[in-house]
Symmetry: C2
Subunit: 322 residues, 2 copies
Amino acid sequence: MKDTFTIGIDLGGTNLKGGVVDSSGRVVVRQNIRLGSDKSVDKIITYITELIKRFLKSTYQPIAAVGCGVPGIVDMSSGIVHHSPNLPDWDNVPVRDQIAARIGLPAILDNDANMWAAGEICFGAGKGCRNMVLLTLGSGIGGGLVLNGDVFRGDEGFAGEVGHIVIDPDGPFCNCGGRGCWEHYAASRAFATHALKLPKGEFSALLARAGGNISHLTPELMATLAKNGDEVAIKLWHCFGRYLGIGIATLLNVLGVETFVIGGGIARSFDNFSAATRDAVLAHTYSHHSSKFMLKKATLGDDGGIIGAAVEASKRLSTLKL
Amino acid sequence: MKDTFTIGIDLGGTNLKGGVVDSSGRVVVRQNIRLGSDKSVDKIITYITELIKRFLKSTYQPIAAVGCGVPGIVDMSSGIVHHSPNLPDWDNVPVRDQIAARIGLPAILDNDANMWAAGEICFGAGKGCRNMVLLTLGSGIGGGLVLNGDVFRGDEGFAGEVGHIVIDPDGPFCNCGGRGCWEHYAASRAFATHALKLPKGEFSALLARAGGNISHLTPELMATLAKNGDEVAIKLWHCFGRYLGIGIATLLNVLGVETFVIGGGIARSFDNFSAATRDAVLAHTYSHHSSKFMLKKATLGDDGGIIGAAVEASKRLSTLKL
């Protein structure tokens, strides 16, 4: 049987990544573009279509379709981006059809975490599972739910907004309009959230290490401090891990899904938080799960979004049309 | 086409209900049995099979299969009850096969909220929806998730344990082994939980109305007090509604499902809490949902579990065997 090639595109906040992917999930060509400061819809769509055109010119393989993952809430069936927290003018824009029209190929569009989840279940950490939740830990918490073997998208693509699980209804305000959302307790900004509850002496010492600026308490700095044995940093990673586990416990109780895969920049510090996460999950779920619950690092790494987007496009070839 | 008849059984904590249901969801015969104090596996299975045999004798219609909803965590594919909070010795028991063997008919077994959800999506408040969450509010919070038209059961039937969404990780201990579970804030015992945070004067006045016993702050008493204009009772219903909404917001953000159907005894007081619930949901989710979110009362009432169990059995006729 002839191999089928599709293009996967993964749009991030600062980078655009793309690749040509074969049917075994191998990225045969890849490219990474740094985005400029202009993040208007038209500019980004131009970046995406130019990258696709470059692939079409440079590869010998015939390309069947394009899959495109973007950060934000996407209605896959209509190809419309409802909302994107980092791309303010992406408000109910029919992005998929604009891309397809410019490149002359069928395209699909979905949320980036959904695409990545599709990649991990086919070729990564979720291989062989029927159900899996991918959590991407970065400036927020993205979620991709794989239920009964397929990405579950909910009404109009709003499923997987797990970063807005309510942890504390009176907690800090969130850009979703709510308060005390999970991503304030278990994503980049969590270290600032938890630091504010430290005893005064510990807080001052930690703040000094961040140059006196609480917003400098990044996962990268916290990882360096923990590596050097800083006890306050180790304590905050524990706190981060615990709150990650509290949200996962809620997901496990709701979905009955036992495999959780962690991706995103903060997954690099997996060993700093995973034990606390596991403890918190088991403390807040039925004991049945203690032998079944799996917490894993994503294995597709930087290529996850590309591979997943290409896989999802490839799965839909028979129904896609231009 | 000839009508198909199935039997639906709905096992509760104190009653066993059953009925013969036609393919339009109509209950043509029904019966209700009060359970005795002996809740051993064998005794309950005898109750169930005797009731089924009575239906088989008394109805002229040929019965194709039996569906049985039970309170607890059930692996539908194996027919095993993992765990039931109200039936302590129901621990990894192959209940389905015991029933099927005794009645000589194919049977399916599932969690009662799942069965009811199947009924509401086919013939009740969720009719026409692709996605729906049923919440049963009683001594706990049961959940039935209908995703892409079917009940979603998760790994080994553990989906829908929504009563254990973590509301406060340092909150009251729960029989699931966790702490601060949702059902402490938005089911029967919620009134005691919230009363403890009242100002002293209000607490004392309310306690006096409950005969000095905090465990008498039942939904029934609270409904009567609210009806009579008791301001503290009205305030606690508001609190109940708010916490119901906080959990629903989490479910909405995770699942992207916009239709929530409320059943169970406390649904009778829907008007006492639903406005506060709606406000809390909209305060903790994207503004997109404000025009889409639907909070409804279940419409199948006491027959919901019977109809749903019969529907699920009927849907599986082609794959069921004895």
